[in-house]
Amino acid sequence: MKKFAKDFIVKDNVTLSSAYALLRLAPVDGILPEMQAGQFVQVEVKGSKTTYLRRPISVNFADYDDGLLWLLVRNAGDGTHAMIEMQVGEVVNIVLPLGHGFTSPSDKSESVLLTGGGVGVAPLLFFGKTLKDADFNVSFLLGAKSEKDLLELDEFRKYGEVFITTEDGSLGERGFVTMHSVLKQRHFSKIACCGPTPMMKAVAKYAKANDIDCEVSLENVMACGLGACLCCVEDTVDGNLCVCKEGPVFNIKRLKWQI
C-alpha cells in the first residue's frame, strides 16, 4: 500500500469523557489514501515544547463517503495532549498508512470477536465495518475501567452486537473482558484484540486455550514508523521484527509471549 506524508485539516474535534478526543481530519488535497483496518498513522505534533518525534495513532475509521480520517486519542502525555488541543481548521502532517492490519477470515460463516480496552478499541471500529461490509458476523467485547472510558459505543453498534465489561461495574458486566459470560455462551472462530498488554495477554491465553485464531495489535515505542530504524522490535519466532512494518497486528502464534 503506497505511503504518503499528507497535510490534513482538523474538521472536527470532539472531547469524549475528559481524557479522550475524536479527531476527524480531511486531507488538504481531498484524497484519502487507501487504508486497512489495524494500520496506523504517524502524526506530527505541533504546539508541544517537549515532544520531538511524531506520535503513532491507529486508524480509528476511514470514512470514504466524507473523505475523513478518524483518530481516537487518549491524553497520555504532552504529545497526545497537544493533539487533543488541536483547533478545528488547524493543519497537521500525517504519514500514512503504516504497517499491516488485521486479516479477515477466509470463511464467511466464521463469527469474529473484536475485543479491546480503553483507547485500544480504536482500530476495532474500522475492522468491524470492514468485516460487516464483507458479510461477516461481528461481535464486539469492549472493556474499560468505568463507563466513562467506553468510547464510541453508538458507532460500534452499527457493525455488530456490543458486549461490555467495566472494572467498577458501572456498565455491562463487572470485571475484565476475559470474564464476560458471552465467551462461555458463544463460539468465536477468530478474535482480534487491541488494548493494554496485560489484557491482550489474557485474551491471547484464552484464545490459545480454546484454540481460537487470534490477532493482537502491539504498541511498541516507535521512532520512524517505517521499518527503517529498528527501534520498535518485538521478539518473535522469526527473530526481532519491526512492529511498525511487520505489525502492529500479529497473530499470537508468532509472538513469544509466555501465556
Binding site: 506524508a5 517505517l226 527503517a228 530504524c229 527501534c231
Partner: protein, 302 residues
C-alpha cells in the same frame, strides 16, 4: 540553479545531502516518500560480518529535542546484504554507501573485502563509534591507536573511498581524525551518537534494555558543529558533518563550519522528505547569497 556537486575523495555527489546510517534503512523504506534519486548519497544500515539480532526491546526513548537508541547493529550480515538487499537497491541513482562495523580490525577488513566487487557500492563508511555494542564499535573510536588499527586493516584490502565515522565521546576528536587520515582514510564523518541514558522515574528502571544508548537529534547539534569545525581545521581530507540536522539552515551551518557534505539522521523520522527540502534550501541559499556553488560556503564561516 547553483552547482550543488561536491567530491569526497574519488566519490562524486550530485549534492552534499546524504542520509545517515541506521536512520534510513536501505532507502527502500522511504521510497514512497522521497525521490531517492535526488539524494547525494544513502548510508545504509550498519553491516557486520555475521548476522546480529541486536539488543532486546526497548531500544529507544525520546529526550528533549532528541532521542536515545540502543538498536545494537541488528542486521543480516554482509553476505545477506550482497545477495538479497543489494540487488533490490543497486539501481537507485545515488551513491549507496555501506556502513561497516566489526569486533576486530580483521572483521572490518573482511566485510569491506566482500563489498569491494559490488559495482554500485562506491564507498564504505567505517563505523568505529557505535556506542550500542560491547565489542567493536566505540572501543576503536575513542583512542588514536584503536582508530588507526581499523583504518589500516581496511585500507589494505579496500581501494575505493573509505569514510571513517568518528565517535564524539572523546576528549580530542581532532587527534582521532588525524590518526584516521594518517592511515589513509579518504574522509571522516562525524558525529555518531553521544552516549547517554534516561531513567523512568516511576518504574525506577532505565528506559533502554541496555541502560545506556546513543543520543541523536537536534539536541546534539551545537556539539557536533563544534567538532566538525575542530576536525576540519585539523585534517586535509574532506569532512562529512552530521548530528542534529533538522532543516536546510542546519545543513548550511555544518557546511560553513567546514563540512564538504552532510548526513541527515533522526530528522527523517520527523519529516520523511526532509532531505529533499534541504537540497532545495541549499540551492536557494546559494542563489540568495549570490554564490555559484556549494564549494563557496564549505568552511566559509567568517
Amino acid at each position: 540553479m547553483a552547482d550543488l556537486r561536491v567530491n569526497i575523495g574519488a566519490l562524486k555527489l550530485k549534492n552534499p545531502v546524504m542520509t545517515a546510517s541506521g536512520t534510513f534503512g536501505y532507502g527502500e523504506e522511504f521510497a514512497d516518500l522521497v525521490n531517492l534519486d535526488r539524494l547525494g548519497g544513502i548510508l545504509v544500515k550498519g553491516t557486520t560480518l555475521n548476522a546480529r539480532e541486536g539488543n532486546p526491546y526497548p531500544r529507544m526513548v525520546e529526550t528533549p529535542s532528541g532521542m536515545l537508541n540502543a538498536v545494537g547493529l541488528q542486521n543480516h550480515g554482509v553476505d545477506y546484504f550482497i545477495s538479497e538487499i543489494y540487488p533490490r537497491i543497486k539501481d537507485i541513482d545515488t551513491n549507496i554507501i555501506v556502513n561497516v562495523s566489526g569486533a576486530s580490525p580483521d572483521d572490518y577488513a573482511e566485510v569491506c573485502r566482500r563489498l569491494l566487487p559490488l559495482e554500485h557500492i562506491p564507498a564504505v563508511e567505517i563505523n568505529i563509534s557505535c556506542p550500542n555494542v560491547k565489542q567493536g564499535g566505540m572501543a576503536f573510536g575513542v583512542t588514536c591507536e584503536g582508530a588507526a588499527s581499523v583504518v589500516k586493516a581496511v585500507r589494505k584490502v579496500y581501494d575505493k573511498t573509505m569514510i571513517v565515522k568518528l565517535s564524539p565521546n572523546v576528549t580530542d576528536i581532532a587527534a582521532i581524525a588525524r590518526a584516521a587520515e594518517d592511515e589513509g582514510a579518504d574522509a571522516v564523518s562525524l558525529t555518531n551518537t553521544f552516549l547517554g541514558m534516561a531513567i523512568n522515574t516511576e518504574t525506577r528502571r532505565p528506559y533502554l534494555s541496555t541502560i545506556t544508548g546513543g543520543l541523536s537529534g537536534a539536541c546534539i547539534r551545537p556539539i557536533a558543529v563544534r567538532m566538525v569545525w575542530q576536525v576540519a581545521n585539523a585534517v586535509k581530507i574532506p569532512v562529512i558533518g552530521l548530528g542534529g540536522i533538522m532543516n536546510g539552515r542546519d545543513a548550511v551551518e555544518f557546511l560553513l563550519a567546514g563540512a564538504t557534505a552532510v548526513q541527515v539522521g533522526t530528522a527523517n523520522f520527523i519529516d520523511p522528505s526532509v532531505t529533499e527540502k534541504i537540497i532545495d534550501y541549499i540551492d536557494d541559499y546559494l542563489n540568495r547569497h549570490n554564490l555559484n556553488s556549494v564549494a563557496d560556503i564549505v568552511g566559509g564561516m567568517l
